[in-house]
Amino acid sequence: MENAWLIPLFPLVSFVILLLIGKQLKERSAYVGILATFVSLVFSIVVLFQRFFEPTYSAKFNWLTIGDLHITAGFEVNQLNALMLFIVSLVSFLVHTYSKGYMHGDERFSVFYVYLGLFTFAMLGLVISPNLLQTYIFWELVGLGSFLLIGFYFYKEEAKAAAKKAFIMTRIGDVGLFIGMILLFWQTKSFEYSEIFKAVNAGQVSGTMITLTAILIFVGAVGKSGQFPLHSWLPDAMEGPTPVSALIHAATMVAAGVYLVAALFPLFLASKTALLTIAIIGAFTAIFAASIGLVQTDIKRVLAYSTVSQLGYMMFALGSAGYVAGVFHLMTHAFFKALLFLAAGSVIHAVGGNQDIEKMGGLWKKLKLTGPLFLIGTLAISGVPLLSGFFSKDEILAAAWEGGHPILFLLALIAAFFTAFYMFRLFFLVFTGEFRGKDEKHVHESPGSMTFPMIVLGVLAIVGGYVNTPWFGSYLGDWLVQGNAKLGSGHAEGPVWIQLAATLFSLGGSFFAWLIYGKRSVSRDWLSGKGGILHTILLNKYYIDEFYQMTIVAISKGISYLFRFIDVFLVEGLVKLVTSIIQGLGKLGAKLQSGQVQTYGAVAFLGLAVLVVIFALTGGYLR
């Protein structure tokens, strides 16, 4: 573990090498990137295993001195960090591999790997930072990486705008984080997590200050993790290449907000108000984004809203004091959401770049690997029993129930229903029925470099949940809270009916999606083979169909449009208002700059006069 600091450096080396000679290497650049991330992955796995048996390791040195304050830098391998190292390096390695096929033929192929290297370095650096300042530095660096990658197709106007929007909107959150960090520093005289927790536990920081700083830091997480109201950059960020969406905007960077809250969890635990805020924002985002996802027609945007919603889930878990639940879902989500994005990329690749699900359909027969893998992802995210998402979602709901937020709990349940609904809608529209696009002959399965990562993720999406189940033991949870009782228990004991309800809601969502979008093409035998109850209901499909078209779909569409309205007019409007005020002031200032030298002198004199008059009126030195 002493050498864990090397892990981020391999991608950095790849970044530097490719920056210098990437142009000569052309598509061979991929091997450099893949090799670097592979080494990181191997190291991460070793570190993860070591951490199972050894205590937390940390190292630091003096980095910056301001006055009499010493700020340190270093690294720390605790349970959370070790787990994050593994997740990030794994997904990064798989995405590096996948991109070799996906980006094939792009004239800026090596540049893409340069950016990927930079991002992976920053993200790995982020998750082993032992103090807030270092976290903040890498936090900004991942933002830069994300900015560059979203804008990768810069000749597209939307990509350019999306890159800018992502950068600026997350910056707004970062300001909150920065202020919170500085305030915390001022209260505890340290940026280091351990010192901060010590000060907080010893009662050196007042209750209001804890709440204030915790919420400010959470604002940073809101920006990064696309929580309401700073979420709208994330769907737009889908303008970036799809592997990037999988890596940055699904599995790793957007989860950094969740990671931050988890890393500072003892601070948040000290403030009930902050926790409640997180829970409310999380739960609201979960249902808000899920409902918008219901009506999207772009395959990647559906997944993007789904990401926002799932991140809301994680925040909700943390806000309900469910530390284990939040981190657990972060992990399973990384697997199945990366899988879904990569599969979506494979679909887009197959149909020649089209992303509109209305123009897809019937791809199941053509994409023999992608189809089942996408289905695995869909089942996992929907929380269908026995897959990873089922266990982590169950853990969240149990934690929420224990945390005592019945209304938020209900919202989360409904969001689970929506999730299953839009995911299966997506699945059915893409893979079943007739092909609605042009040029069907061209549709082909992706090369091995793309399917291999999907298979790995597919396996993990199925089995990843078994490290923490109510049935076989909560190994992950127990390990995560080991040696730190404050983080809560390793497993939330919820009543059994929660599991049943969750299952019912997710199956319900899937079922309605099937009724509406899938029933035309899926053979009856396929369904009846699954279960008799479904079959009986199916007999009455006519009424149910009509009924749900009118009620559930209409209501959810209504909610969806309402939220879209809030999104477009209120949130964006507010942002527009602020920017236009600043722009207006700028215009005014530029107008004053007339080029007349008399004006310049006059302004200086006026300035002096105003200061002197104020001085005179306030009695000068007497104040």
Binding site: L19, N62, W63, L64, T65, I66, G67, L69, Y136, I137, F138, W139, E140, L141, L144, L148, G151, F154, Y155, K160, A163, K164, F167, I168, R171, I172, V175, F178, I179, I182, F185, W186, I582, Q583, L585, G586, K587, G589, A590, L592, Q593, G595, V597, T599, Y600, G601, V603, A604, F605, L606, G607, L608, L611, V612, I614, F615, G620, Y621, R623
Partner: protein, 503 residues
């Protein structure tokens, strides 16, 4: 003064100034006797050598005690050594930019003149740094200013250049008048021009009415000197002058001249008003009472600089506003008057020197090739010259204060300083907010460079001088961002600024 007396003076502490002035005189002679057909760039290289020699000489003084000669009018202390090093380092880089500048529009006839005027301007700045007397301060200031006026207008066939020189000289005149008026109060109340004597007399001032007059003097000096800093309310000349002046001169005004401006502000305001009492001996110094005025100026400067920069379409004008904004951040450090103030300002100026001079070097290459200073000339720079674009990218994120760069550490120093002792929440908030605004225009240039199609596909040649500037600037911006303690340890171990400043 007898010859013996004259020789007994410890002239050696003026070695750096002598080197610069001596070489300037040499260049005048060379320029006079060199055949017209010979290129004058060689004179520039001699100038660079002189600046480096002076830099070495200054650096060798580090660690020594405070010394003064000529009845305390000229002094060497930790402060003067630290800031002289900044001035000389900046001057060296500007000179590298200047030798790579293709003289045209009338400048070609005066190219030699340009180099020695430049050296004289630098010596003016150095004199300001090391002076302990109002008179020498003023002479240094004028030496710097008058030469700058000339340099701004050296492209004699270029209308904008002429206009800029004219505006500069008029505004400079106004500011000088205000400064002198302010100084006259200090002299009138104490009967001496020596800074330490003034401080000593004013520290026992018992008449509150006289303190009131000194308050007025403070405001006049502050407003007058804000001209050199390009801070509000005396900032309006900057965009016009920056735009019209030849790029090396713009770089000089933006960095070296501004550094000198901060030097004189700190010397006068801190020595005189840090000692002068408000209400009888033992009461609070005037400068503490005037903190709010400093804060207003700092806040206004940050807001004006950053907000108006958004509207600019000309890269040099944009950088003029950006330099106004940076003056605002530096004034925040001054306002807080924290123990860490000297170091914060020094470090920020160092970081600012790297990022701004590097950026100006690139601006010169790009705009000279294009023949226009529009920001759109940067479109697709990444395609034309990846090296320039990536360097500019690093410098821009440093200017924006992005973590991992020297600019970030500089801002962090100032920001944390704002919470030292009395907390300046409002000022800190304005600093953060305007920094966010600054992202828009810095990243506007980034978008041009990386995300826009190329208008002009021709390749750019990077002259040798520019290569050096870029190497130093980019390395400095990253090095001091990643390992900022290098600078701190240097200061801590070699220079005792606070201990020597008031003695």
């Amino acid at each position: 003064m007898s010859a013996e007396n004259f020789l007994s003076i410890n002239w050696s502490i003026m070695t750096p100034e002598f080197i610069i002035l001596g070489v300037a005189a040499l260049l005048i002679v060379f320029d006079l006797f060199m055949p017209k057909t010979l290129g004058r760039t060689i004179l520039g290289w001699i100038g660079i050598a002189a600046i480096f020699a002076a830099l070495m000489s200054v650096a060798s003084m580090a660690g020594g005690p405070a010394q003064s000669i000529l009845s305390n009018t000229f002094r060497i202390d930790g402060f003067s050594i630290a800031f002289n090093m900044l001035l000389l380092l900046g001057a060296a880089l500007v000179m590298f930019i200047a030798v790579s500048y293709e003289a045209k529009d009338g400048l070609e006839k005066y190219q030699g003149e340009f180099y020695y005027l430049f050296l004289i301007a630098v010596s003016g700045g150095m004199l300001m740094t090391s002076s302990g007397d109002l008179v020498t301060l003023y002479i240094g200031l004028e030496l710097l200013s008058v030469t700058s006026y000339i340099m701004a207008g050296m492209r004699k066939d270029h209308v904008q250049s002429n206009e800029s020189a004219m505006k500069y000289v008029i505004n400079g005149g106004i500011s000088t008048a205000i400064i002198l008026f302010g100084m006259s109060y200090a002299y009138g109340l104490t009967g001496t021009t020596n800074l330490l004597d003034i401080a000593q007399k004013l520290s026992t001032l018992s008449d509150a009415n006289q303190a009131y007059l000194l308050g007025l003097a403070f405001l006049m000096l502050l407003v007058g000197l804000s001209f050199k800093l390009a801070a509000a309310p005396f900032h309006m000349w900057a965009p016009d002058v920056y735009q019209g002046a030849p790029t090396p001169v713009t770089a000089f005004l933006g960095v070296v001249s501004k550094t000198a401006g901060f030097v004189i502000v700190i010397r006068i305001l801190l020595t005189v008003f840090g000692a002068a009492v408000t209400n009888g001996p033992g009461s609070a110094p005037i400068i503490i009472n005037m903190q709010n005025y400093l804060a207003v100026i700092a806040g206004a400067t940050m807001m004006i600089g950053n907000v108006v920069a958004l509207r600019q379409t000309d890269i040099k004008r944009m950088f003029a506003y950006s330099s106004i904004a940076h003056a605002g951040y530096l004034l925040v450090a001054l306002t807080t008057l924290s123990a860490n103030m000297f170091y914060s300002i020094w470090f920020y100026l160092l970081a600012y020197l790297f990022m701004n001079l590097g950026a100006f070097a690139i601006i010169q290459v790009v705009t000279e090739k294009a023949g226009s200073t529009k920001i759109t000339e940067f479109a697709g720079l990444y395609r034309r010259s990846p090296v320039l674009a990536v360097s500019m990218g690093i410098l821009l994120i440093s200017l924006a204060g992005f973590p991992g760069t020297a600019g970030f550490i500089g801002k962090l120093n100032i920001f944390i300083g704002a919470f030292y002792g009395t907390s300046h929440y409002l000022l800190a908030a304005i600093m953060i907010a305007t920094t966010v605004v600054s992202y828009f225009y810095y990243f506007g240039v980034m978008t041009q460079m990386f995300f826009r199609p190329v208008a002009d596909k021709s390749k750019l040649d990077i002259p040798f001088g520019i290569v050096i500037v870029l190497l130093v600037a980019v390395a400095g911006s990253i090095l001091f961002g990643v390992a900022p303690n290098i600078a701190f340890n240097f200061m801590q171990n070699n220079l005792d600024i606070i201990g020597q400043f008031f003695k």
